[in-house]
């Protein structure tokens, strides 16, 4: 079982990211679960969302404390939240940032593999909005190969309807532009 934790700010779509990832995995015939850190929704406040993916039915219903993957949707969180908390030694962290991967690694003080992409820039250019959820899914996929790219198409269309194409482009661009370092 792979466990993924998403860090974002209320309104950026961390919960949507977790949901789309689960839907893509289920689309492939896998088992998956996605849920928010339950609470009153507050725009701008740090929020968490969780996703589990497995070949077997998932039985655990509790938050994720030792993730295999961490996805950060807002670069300002890197300094205010311990986003790498509990990340497994072999785990991967992907984040949006306009800084170089080396600099981000220094800020986070982690030894894990790291993926960095300027998702805000991509989202602004492609979607016209700084909402990084689908963009960061492209980055996550590049770093982890967790599910097939095509498996996202249906869930993205289901969620975004008319603007699905733009989200698919943002997703695709982040996939291409993510830089991975050891």
């Amino acid at each position: 079982m792979i466990e993924i934790r998403f860090h974002g700010r209320g309104g950026q779509g961390a919960v949507t990211s977790a949901e789309l990832l689960a839907l893509a995995a289920i689309e492939e015939g896998k088992y998956a679960q996605a849920f928010p850190s339950f609470g009153p929704e507050r725009r701008g406040a740090p929020v968490l969302a969780f996703c589990r993916i497995s070949d077997q039915p998932i039985k655990i219903r509790a938050n994720i404390y030792e993730p295999d993957l961490v996805v950060v949707l807002d670069a300002s969180l890197l300094k205010v939240v311990n986003v790498a908390a509990g990340l497994k030694p072999e785990g991967i962290l992907v984040t949006t940032s306009s800084d170089s991967p080396e600099k981000v690694k220094e800020t986070l003080k982690i030894k894990n593999r790291l993926g960095v992409v300027d998702a805000v820039k991509i989202a602004r250019e492609v979607l016209g909005l700084p909402i990084t959820n689908t963009t960061m899914l492209g980055s996550l996929l590049k770093a982890s190969g967790l599910v097939k790219k095509e498996s996202f198409i249906l869930p993205l269309k289901g969620r975004f309807g008319r603007v699905a194409e733009k989200n698919i482009s943002a997703f695709e661009r982040a996939y291409q532009e993510t830089i991975l370092i050891q």
Partner: protein, 390 residues
Amino acid sequence: MAKRIGMEVSIAAAEAVKQANVDVISAYPITPQTHIVEHLAELVANGDLDADFFCVESEHSALSVCVGAAATGARTFTCTSSQGLALMSEITYIASGLRLPIVMIVSNRTLSAPLSIWNDHSDVMSIRDCGWIQFFVENGQESYDHVFAAYRLAEENSVLFPVIINMDGFILSHVIEPIELIEQGKIDQFLPPYQPVHQLHPDHPVTMGAFALPAIFAETKKAQEEALRSSMPKIIETWKAFGDMSGRYYHPVETYQAEDADTLLVTMGSYGETASVAVDKMREAGRSVGLVKIRLWRPFPFDDLKKATLHAKQLVVIDRAISVGACGPVASEVKAALYGNDQRPSVYNFVAGISGRDVTPSDFVKMVDKAEIEIAEGNKEGFEIYGVRG
């Protein structure tokens, strides 16, 4: 096997209500039940579900509408949580007293005060004695499945009781997971249209909910109590028929690795699966631990519970509500079930996860550890709230 579709559990539950082809829905929004009624309102507004959706000003009215509609012979649905259920409580007794086959999903949430939107079972425990048949489910599939079983059971001539499906708020209601949907043709066969025996109808006037003098009230209540108790075979029969249709079989009490276990965890609701992960961990470590899950809360399955637990040395009962001044409500029932037996396991009771506090597999292991130590030291009937600071 049907394809598994990824969807939020609340949406799956609402889809089941649609597939059950209800005639009347009446509800008032409250977190975390909201997504269920929002989806149903959308289905009705879009013409995907041919039902009347009554928007009301309170939960008291929501259930009152259901009572009136069910009395005319309509298949009715409502859904609530927490304070909403508390506001309905007056009408819950009327619905069961009038023997109206209403189905309600309770997306379980803590009762105030302090104000909390998160999950526990204090809401439904506040109407424990209201005379409805009460199920607890432990995952999304069960939430979906139980809607069909609930209607078929409720509308059975020899049953005619309202049914509550307890589905843990957030922990189930807000989770996206794979659900196997059942073909409409199979549902229609399993759940034919409701044929009421007694019906409010202008052409054939009857009185429902009449005044009862002391000379008749006790007899009426006895009839109700006997009817609820004797619904047990029908409950089992309904789940059997549902299993034959869907391949998923449900029972009043279900067990996991329990047959030879010295220590048994006892849970109700969404704890079940997480606790089973803890049992696997403890079994791997060579410990004799198993799990007993209560699915049917009313009528309480005393015999099934005894059969599942009497061989054990100790039970660790995990409640998600407190009967303040006593103990957890599940533990009370478990103790009552075991009392008449000379040889019976000790019962150690934890209240855990109230107001949605996260309970992980290692928390279950810690509770078993603590209970085994306490019992070995002679504290055989302990009660505590787990994980409280200070």
